[in-house]
């Protein structure tokens, strides 16, 4: 068996999600290769070569991969698929966008967001917002898989010494063009990789209150900021703050749910967190059923108090 992991990166650095994907590949077993598709991304290939457990890095460095459009990257993966029994990518926005194209072009199923490996052809994945865990067996010759990063502990990013070999770029399909990209600049840790997350819900009342109350708390804890879908729908914060079934799936050491009632679809995104703290004035809010520590209180008083208490 040999496994191709598609690197997630921004041409400047390898994203941590790749380390979780490699961990899943190691659970499957066999030789693990990483494909880096980008432009001016030699530094990424160098980082990938150091990842523990990686046998080979394949580097496609060409202008048409600068923006990593799904169409061009999928075509490249398909062109390099021969000989691999498994093709894996992280179940992040980037992986979910691109990998189904690979599966369709190879005429195989995709197994989405696996959280465990039972055997080389059998995997566990959440369905119904994580309320039903399905064990599925694939009958396809190649298994195309996205990996839920919270299901697999990252492998070490340093210690490996894989050879890097260049691969020929596939033709530029020229199907779409990225005309703009706005990445929110933040000094805070990334939501998907943060050890502590402070999330606010509709109970915050407004975007202004959300920032005014939660930022000092996040600052104290070096936390990422998140939100419930209700808070996103109400326009308090942008969509990329959303934690939940259809947003980001997170599993930090410590998760604060503040003014969040605990809808099924929100719980789906955070219930694997190690420690959950809920602050809500409604003692019957469902969030308290999953919280390790619940505080029934007016968040507008409790949160500033918490910031003070943390010193």
């Amino acid at each position: 068996m040999s496994i191709l992991v598609i690197a997630e990166h921004d041409n400047a650095g390898l994203k941590a999600s790749t380390l979780n994907t490699v961990a899943a590949a190691q659970k499957i077993g066999g030789e693990v290769h990483i494909l880096v598709a980008g432009s001016g991304c030699a530094v990424v290939a160098a980082a990938a070569a150091k990842v523990v457990g990686v046998a080979k890095v394949k580097l496609a460095d060409a202008a048409q991969y600068a923006d990593q459009t799904a169409e061009n990257v999928a075509a490249l993966v398909v062109a390099n698929a021969a000989g691999y029994t498994h093709i894996l990518a992280a179940a992040t926005g980037a992986g979910k966008n691109m990998l189904p194209r690979v599966a369709a072009l190879l005429d195989v199923a995709q197994i989405s967001e696996i959280t465990a490996v039972e055997s080389p052809d059998t995997f566990v994945r959440p369905t119904y917002a994580g309320n039903a865990m399905a064990t599925v067996k694939s009958s396809d010759s190649v298994k195309v898989i996205t990996v839920r990063t919270t299901g697999f502990d990252a492998v070490a990013s340093e210690g490996g010494n894989a050879a890097t070999e260049p691969v020929a770029p596939a033709a530029d399909l020229g199907l779409s063009k990225v005309t703009g990209r706005e990445i929110a600049k933040s000094a805070r840790p990334e939501l998907a990789a943060a050890k502590v997350i402070v999330s606010g819900g509709r109970g915050m009342g407004s975007g202004e209150k959300y920032h005014q109350l939660l930022e000092p708390l996040a600052d104290k804890l070096n936390a990422a900021l998140g939100a419930s879908r209700a808070a996103v729908d109400a326009g308090f914060v942008p969509n990329d703050y959303q934690v939940g079934q259809t947003g980001k799936i997170v599993a930090p050491q410590l998760y604060f749910a503040i003014g969040i009632s605990g809808a099924i679809q929100h719980l789906a995104g955070m219930k694997d967190s190690k420690v959950i703290v809920a602050i809500n004035k409604d003692p019957d809010a469902p969030i308290f059923q999953v919280a390790d520590y619940g505080l029934v209180a007016d968040l507008f008083q409790a949160v500033p108090e918490l910031v003070t208490e943390l010193g």
Partner: protein, 254 residues
């Protein structure tokens, strides 16, 4: 291409209503769907709404809803027509239709109908696969804009803003294309009673996968379905002081 004949195809899925808390069956074969409320997948409602808005804006001329599945999917298609789809197609099958099979069925329908835009929901809230739109785009060799939050169509081209990790990006491409909807794209209208009545009279054609020459055999077999590990409720703390003390001394996370 004249905008005068711009068709939009919108695949819709019948799923367990998003308010239902599903229960895993005791025998581990799946979730209990008996007497459970079924509705249109919420992301597909957003897709229908976007298509109808494009027609109302004079950009598109016809909106066709298509669903693949059991006979009862007719209800979902009626809902799509009550929101504003002009007509509907049911590809009827009792087989467990997986995303690749659905992508192939939609491809066969698209080859007949020749739409310029196909708008999918980004994921269905039952299998949470998030695949079908991208698979269809690949099978057609079309560009895709997955997880769209803003769509502008003019002069045979589209500009779509889409949600990406950590922000947003804008894609530009020529039609035909695939768009998959994210939450922020729009807020679907409620179907009014007169529109629900009108939808009953709209055209609904039924096809079978065999009519379309598509093999829909499942590629994945579900061996078992289990409940996720239960997370027990913890304790209520009296005040902020106690909370901080517990986090420091008991959980040791700060």
């Amino acid at each position: 291409m004249r905008t005068a004949d711009l068709k939009i195809l919108v695949p819709v899925k019948r799923v367990v209503d998003y308010n239902v808390k599903v229960r895993v069956k005791a025998d581990g074969t799946g979730v209990d769907l008996a007497n459970v409320k079924m509705s249109m997948n919420p992301f597909d409602e957003i897709a229908i709404e976007e298509a109808v808005r494009l027609r109302e804006a004079g950009v598109a001329t016809e909106v066709i809803a298509v669903s693949c599945g059991v006979t009862a999917c007719q209800e979902t298609l009626r809902t799509a027509m009550a929101i504003g789809a002009d007509r509907a197609i049911l590809v009827e099958s009792d087989v467990d239709l997986q995303p690749l099979a659905v992508a192939k069925l939609i491809k066969a329908v698209a080859e007949k109908e020749q739409p310029q835009i196909v708008i999918f929901g980004k994921q269905a809230i039952d299998d949470d696969a998030n695949q079908t739109g991208q698979m269809f785009a690949a099978l057609m060799g079309w560009p895709q804009a997955a997880f769209a939050s803003k769509v502008v169509v003019a002069d045979g081209a589209a500009t779509v803003t889409r949600e990406i990790d950590g922000g947003a990006e804008t894609l530009a491409f020529k039609l035909p294309c695939v768009i998959t909807t994210d939450l922020r794209l729009n807020e679907p209208r409620y179907a009014t009673l007169p529109n629900i009545m009108k939808a009953k009279k709209k055209q609904l054609d039924t096809l079978k996968p065999a009519d379309l020459g598509v093999d829909v055999a499942p590629r994945l077999t579900t061996l078992k379905v289990t409940e996720p590990p239960k997370r027990g409720a913890g304790v209520k703390v009296a005040d902020v002081k106690e909370l901080v003390a517990k986090l420091k001394n008991e959980a040791k996370v700060i």
